[in-house]
């Protein structure tokens, strides 16, 4: 199934080749979880502070949930502004 993986700020280095400006379009297996997708791209779990799926925050427990077709997973290290 198709999903988008978006890695921002210092996590952008973990994007696979062929990504366009922080976004990778991926074909993943059914049942792939947030953590398993991030693990597959060597994104350190300790750096994943802000984790959104379709813009909605995913707390630590929700990160073991499976992604669905068309989901957009966006991840940042600790960041702030204002």
């Amino acid at each position: 199934m198709q999903v988008k993986l978006k890695l921002f700020a210092s996590l952008a280095r973990y994007l696979p080749d062929g990504s366009e400006r922080n976004v990778a379009r991926l074909d993943i297996a059914e049942g792939t979880t947030i953590w398993s997708l991030l693990d597959a791209h060597n994104v350190p779990r300790g750096s994943c502070h802000l984790v959104l799926v379709n813009g909605i925050y995913q707390g630590p427990e929700a990160r073991y949930n499976a992604l669905k077709e068309g989901d957009e997973l966006a991840v940042w290290p600790p960041v702030a502004g204002g």
Binding site: F8, N22, L50, W76, P77, V79, A80, G82
Partner: protein
């Protein structure tokens, strides 16, 4: 003891300079900077006075930690009655000007009256002079800074000045210091212009004493370690600046776009921190050159950028080819998302002009967004705009508008009124995205409900810096709350408002609070200042300040009816993102907020509250 204990009082009508001791009883109750200067203001002016009349006063104020070795201890504020809002105004700036004021020996400079002809002020330690500004009236911020340093043969002078926009009463003109740091909001620059005061130039050769030097060094060193070890203040902000929020807020569906028609901007990535760091296709260099720190700051979130020399905005204009203040998040949002413009170089140019001519980029960009909607709705035409095709997404229109507004020429004069007056003039007031006539910044309350209450109740008109609940609702600092929920937000907003008022009165930067709590700040204040400065006392001071500001606004004529958001946010649901189908629901939160504040249902502090806080 943190404070110098001395203030300057300048009467421009009489041409007099007086010194007086700082009221230490008030310092104990209001700390410094925002709180203490606001106390002086509310005691000395009629709340109903004309903001641009000679009876208004403007105060440049430092905090007790300004000029010390505390991290970020370089802040100062400009306090006055704001012409954009008619409410109390307090605009906070970094750079080096504030510390220099302390080194010259002054906690505050109170300016009253109005000069008969343009003047500027020099404060060289105890030597204070009102000088003729005939040579710099009509000059930009950058030209004025250069002229003053050359005229007095001292490159170490720090200058706070207005641009041409402030001289011409653009209602969101700033006071800019150190070329590109600004006391930005509410039109404080126009107040200087109304007094014929072009600039304040300061050089100080003294220092700042503290109550207990050993304890102060210990407390400030501990504070710096917390900032360094924190991933946000130690790595995120120095590397990416505030602009890292562009993608965050857009993904969260809370990015006000095209004057609030939408809550997500399809081109946010093109104007983000990540885009600023990418090599340009045109010349191979990134827009962002480096970061920069204000006085004493160990975070260094400032952006220094350079525009592509071949870009249409600066072709054959070498005066804009140098490195200068780059885009921060709020500016990038206002100049970009609010107008639908995705050209990063054009936004950087517009930001340069805002610095050069002293414009608040938030209110300017949001006003252009409102004007674009008027244009697209056919309410105004190219005849009105002087030939500008004012369509959403047009970089050319944006950059032409900033040039005109900076100099208050042509259609720029209308844009300089701000969106509330502009849209009212053309019979479409509902298109102004303002509270108390001040444009709201880069967070859509439909997607971050707490920010709706923040904007509605902000004492200086819509503003994110009075209670930055984004930290909790989106970023999880200090703990994560649901941005789409209203439950618990009244208490959250009040807590942020009170704590922020205390920090704004200390001389420290509010960005420290991404890592520090008042548990980190109070020991630094306590070691510097006479008295016992506990966390509890800081919070009480913050709450007292908030109520004092509210009372001033109530006396100025504001009521609970002014604690409301633009109709669009309350009636037109978000079209996309997590907030799809939702509107801002401030009405649900306001009664609880008033109750927590100890105010009546009409938003008036009760006698019991006033007695408790000894306002």
């Amino acid at each position: 003891m943190g404070w110098t204990g001395k203030i300057l009082r300048i009467d421009l009508s009489k041409g007099t300079v007086k010194t007086e001791p700082l009221n230490m009883d008030w310092a104990d109750k209001y700390l410094g900077q925002r709180g203490l200067a606001s106390k002086y203001l509310v005691e000395e002016i009629d709340p109903k006075t004309d903001p641009l009349g000679p009876d208004n006063k403007v105060i440049f104020a430092t905090g007790p930690l300004t000029g010390t070795c505390a991290s970020t201890g370089g802040r100062y504020s400009v306090i006055t009655k704001g012409p954009l809002t008619g409410a109390i105004a307090c605009s906070n700036s970094g750079g080096y000007f504030g510390a220099e004021m302390k080194f010259a020996g002054w906690d505050m400079v109170i300016v009253e009256g109005a000069a008969a002809k343009p003047v500027y002020l020099t404060i060289f330690d105890d030597d204070v002079q009102i000088r003729d500004a005939g040579d710099i009236w009509g000059k930009s911020v950058w030209e004025t800074d250069k002229w003053i340093k050359a005229a007095h043969q001292d490159p170490m002078i720090h200058v706070a000045t207005i641009g041409v926009s402030g001289e011409n009463a653009v209602l969101y003109s700033c006071v800019v210091n150190d070329l590109h740091r600004a006391a930005g909001r509410s039109g404080v620059g126009a107040v200087l212009g109304s007094k014929n005061l072009k600039a304040v130039a300061i050089r100080g050769t003294g220092g700042v004493s503290v109550k207990d030097p050993k304890e102060f060094l210990k407390a400030t060193k501990a504070g710096k370690k917390v900032l360094k070890d924190n991933a946000v203040t130690g790595q995120g902000l120095p590397t990416y600046g505030t602009q890292v929020l562009m993608n965050v807020i857009n993904e969260a569906g809370a990015m006000p776009t095209r004057n609030g028609r939408d809550v997500q901007f399809e081109s946010a990535g093109d104007i983000s921190a990540e885009a600023m760091a990418e090599p340009r296709r045109s010349d191979g260099h990134p827009n962002l050159l480096t970061n920069q720190a204000c006085f004493g700051c160990t975070i260094a979130c400032g952006r220094i950028s350079k525009i592509d020399e071949t870009h249409y905005t600066v072709q054959n204009k070498p005066e804009y080819w140098h490195a200068s203040g780059g885009l921060e998040y709020e500016a990038a949002w206002a100049l970009g998302s609010a107008t639908g413009v995705k050209d990063l170089e054009a936004l950087t140019y517009a930001n340069f002009i805002c610095n050069e001519q002293g414009l608040d980029p938030i209110s300017f960009g949001a006003t252009v967004g409102a004007a674009m909607e008027l244009y697209e709705d056919g309410v105004i035409t190219s005849e009105t705009t002087g030939g500008i095709e004012l369509k959403f997404g047009s970089a050319e229109a944006l950059t032409r508008c900033v040039e005109l507004t900076g100099k208050a020429e042509g259609f720029g004069k209308e844009l300089g009124m701000g969106s509330a007056r502009l849209t009212a003039k053309y019979g479409r007031p509902e298109l102004s995205m303002t509270v108390k006539s001040q444009e709201f910044p880069a967070y859509d309350p439909r997607g971050i409900q707490g920010m709706g209450l923040t904007y509605a109740t902000s004492n200086r008109g819509a503003c994110h810096l009075r209670s930055y609940t984004v930290a909790s609702e989106i970023l999880g600092i200090p703990e994560k709350t649901d941005p789409l929920a209203t439950e618990g937000k009244a208490g959250l907003v009040k807590a942020f408002q009170d704590a922020t008022a205390a920090v704004d009165s200390s001389g420290l930067c509010v960005f420290t609070t991404f890592a520090w709590t008042l548990e980190d700040i109070a020991p630094q204040v306590d070691a510097a200042c006479k008295g016992d400065w506990s966390v509890e006392k800081m919070l009480e001071v913050g709450e007292r300040i908030w109520n004092m500001e509210r009372i001033f606004n109530n006396k100025a004529g504001f009521t609970a009816k002014d604690d409301r958001l633009p109709e669009r946010l309350m009636k037109d649901a978000a079209k996309t993102g997590p907030a799809k189908g939702l509107v801002a629901t401030v009405d649900k939160m306001l009664p609880e907020y008033y109750d927590l504040r100890g105010w009546t249902s009409e938003g008036v502090p009760t006698n019991e509250t006033l007695e408790r806080l000894a306002v």
